[in-house]
């Protein structure tokens, strides 16, 4: 029992993040998130199909502007996200611990997440040079191939990693000019929403990253089948889910990226091929002559 003089702490309402705003789910539904002892930590928004559709509209609208931003600017914004996260490290560590991660592991995870953002921030103005080409065609033409963002990417974030798995998928997607709609881990959703607040304070334009919480079973099909989504990333190894995702994705020839093999805390889980996965290659020809 608290003493009469003790302050009553203010708990946070965890809301979803769509188009740069923090609404509750339009459905009005929630699910309780409990700690190990069964105490309710927070009521989490149970995002709906309509929330997802609204997110895709926002992501589509934001995509050309974000892709048109200079690589230098995108790099600085990713760096800014890392700065903001660094400043709020303690909050993220606390959230991870609250959700059952050991304190030392939580600290390490937050540090890795920050470093991973810095890693991809640095790639913003470099991956293009690594992966593009000037092609020595036989005819009298100048011909070159460059990477362009695939467009709107839906991400089913890893279910067993609350922060590092989330950031390891968002960062390489957006650094290349894509926009995204992310479904947070169902088991560990808190950091995803707090990360949305970090994004919100980091000059990331509205709609570039949209984050939903909710039930995997309910939303996976929507993430995979939506006709205005160009690619889907999923990270959990379940074969039935993989099959369902791939089947639904075929409806509009979505690119399907399976990242079940990654261990997100390892160094190998960061590399420029994760950027490349959600890029298209465009080849342009022009005659050489008068």
């Amino acid at each position: 029992m608290a003493t009469p003089a003790a302050r009553v702490p203010v708990a946070k309402t965890y809301k979803i993040y769509i188009d740069g705003k923090f609404p509750r789910s339009e459905s009005g539904r929630y699910f309780p998130l409990a700690d190990r002892k069964g105490m309710v930590i927070a009521n989490i928004c149970r995002g709906s199909r309509k929330d997802f559709r609204n997110s895709v509209v926002a992501a589509r609208k934001a995509q050309p502007g974000w892709a048109g931003a200079s690589a230098y600017l995108r790099g600085q914004i990713l760096y800014r996200i890392a700065e903001m996260l660094e400043g709020r490290s303690e909050q993220f560590v606390a959230e991870l611990t609250l959700q059952g991660v050991a304190r030392r592991a939580a600290q390490k995870e937050v540090e890795q997440a920050i470093d991973r953002l810095i890693y991809y921030a640095g790639w913003a103005d470099k991956y293009q040079q690594v992966f593009s080409s000037v092609n020595p065609v036989s005819s009298s033409h100048f011909n070159f191939s460059v990477l362009e963002p695939t467009g709107v990417v839906s991400i089913l974030a890893p279910n067993d990693s609350g922060l590092i798995g989330l950031i390891s998928n968002i960062a390489p997607t957006i650094v290349g000019g894509n926009t995204t709609v992310v479904l947070a881990s169902e088991k560990l959703p808190l950091c995803a929403i707090s990360f949305a607040e970090v994004l919100h304070a980091s000059d990331v334009p509205a709609g570039v990253v949209n984050i939903l919480t909710g039930y995997r079973d309910e939303l996976t099909g929507q993430f995979a089948s939506h006709m205005d989504v160009n690619a889907i990333v999923y990270c959990d190894g379940d074969k039935t889910v993989a099959r369902a995702v791939q089947e639904a994705a075929a409806e509009n020839i979505k690119r399907v990226i399976n990242r079940a093999q990654f261990k997100w805390s390892e160094a190998a889980a960061q590399n420029p091929y994760l950027i490349h996965d959600v890029q298209e290659i465009k080849t342009t020809w022009h005659p050489i002559g008068t």
Binding site: V130, S133, S139, R243, Y273, T284, W285
Partner: protein, 489 residues
Amino acid sequence: MARPENKLAFDDGWQYAPAPESTDHIRIDKKYGLFIGGDFVAPDKGKYFDTINPATEQHLSRIALASEGDVDKAVKAARKAYRAWSRLKPANRGKYIYRIARIIQERAREFAAIESLDGGKPIRESRDVDIPLSAAHFFYYAGWADKLEYAFPGRRAKSLGVAGQVIPWNFPLLMAAWKIAPALACGNTVVLKPAETTPLTALKLAEVIADAGLPPGVVNIVTGAGETGAAVVTHPGVDKVAFTGSTEIGRVIQKALAGTDKKYTLELGGKAANIIFADAAIDQAVEGIVNGIFFNQGHVCCAGSRLLVQESVAEEVVQKLRDRMETLIVGDPLDKNTDIGAINSAQQLEKIEAYLAIGQEEGARMHQSSCAVPDKGYWCRPTIFTDVSQSNRVVQEEIFGPVLAIQTFRTFSEAMTKANNTPYGLSGGVWTDKGAKIFKMTRGIRAGVIWANTFNKFDPTSPFGGYKESGMGREGGLHGLDAYLKLEA
């Protein structure tokens, strides 16, 4: 039909003399088996189908129809060959592929004549485009075989296994080259299924592969229709699927592969916009439009089948296009004068004619060349539609024939919006004399290949493939290796 006034009447006062390519130098067997494990073998159910010349409807040869059992044999042969082929010294793998390139060059004239006979395309195109590019493709990828470690920084490149490949009828040998060359260079073995209307050059390629001394089973060629293709794609012993064809079938394949670990690339349909700005060199642009839509009878997935022309020059461009269309020679594919050959099959002609009816029913105005076409065979006069709107089916859907839908625009952004307003994203064209405008438009079009002040150019070093529902993955160039490799850290 009265002949319209024609400012480009090249044949007034004189006529083109026919200049047919001879066919006495080519050899087509009466019957072809399946190329499995280095030999031509009879199909296990003993079934054959005919391949005909679409320009004359004359029978050319009997082709084995591969059953599921035959496909299984082919996959097993490829699997058996894979072990040694993938471990062969890479430089030696390259040398075999170089040999294929050289033999195609040596036999180019024969290949060109057969390609035109079996598929209906003008000999000028098979002679100057299809066959030389096929040889060049093998030559290009041959050299990659021992240089793969330089292609993907920070990764180790490993072969995948058996590649199952299904190719279309519009560029029969070239598509076989696009598929086989990178697969072999990367150390994979191959089961290839050519299209049922154009199997001959793939079977001649089997002869070349045998002559080049490739170990038995490294390349297997199974002929047949859709069912044979489905058997190749879904065979559990196939590690990688490569398909070129319609978006409709691509979707079916992507679904069929769900739940498997097969890697796949899809080169699917297109509905490319060719955008002509008022400041373009108009006469060159008109040539580009003609090449864009009438090259290979419009049987080209990246054809410029939509014309977007800036309003201030629309009348001039359409008039010049109609004049130019009148001069196009439609007829015998083997005649070196021919600009537009035969439609590939009765089925395809039926589809094109259905779209001609749909276009008119939807209110578009149809203009056709007044040229005569032969009585026998499958023919479609070059056709343009004006007064079309963005939602018309002839604007949204791939026709795969010599049919152009013409729309106008006023502003840059209107052109870009219209260009991007289809589910496809394979290619695009832009014509203007302003460099800055070219870069703005070529960046804005959501498509994998953009031609600026040119159209329908191809090269083995140049990656090709689509955005959106035009497919995924690239063929050609360094980027084309990715489809045939596993990249490890």
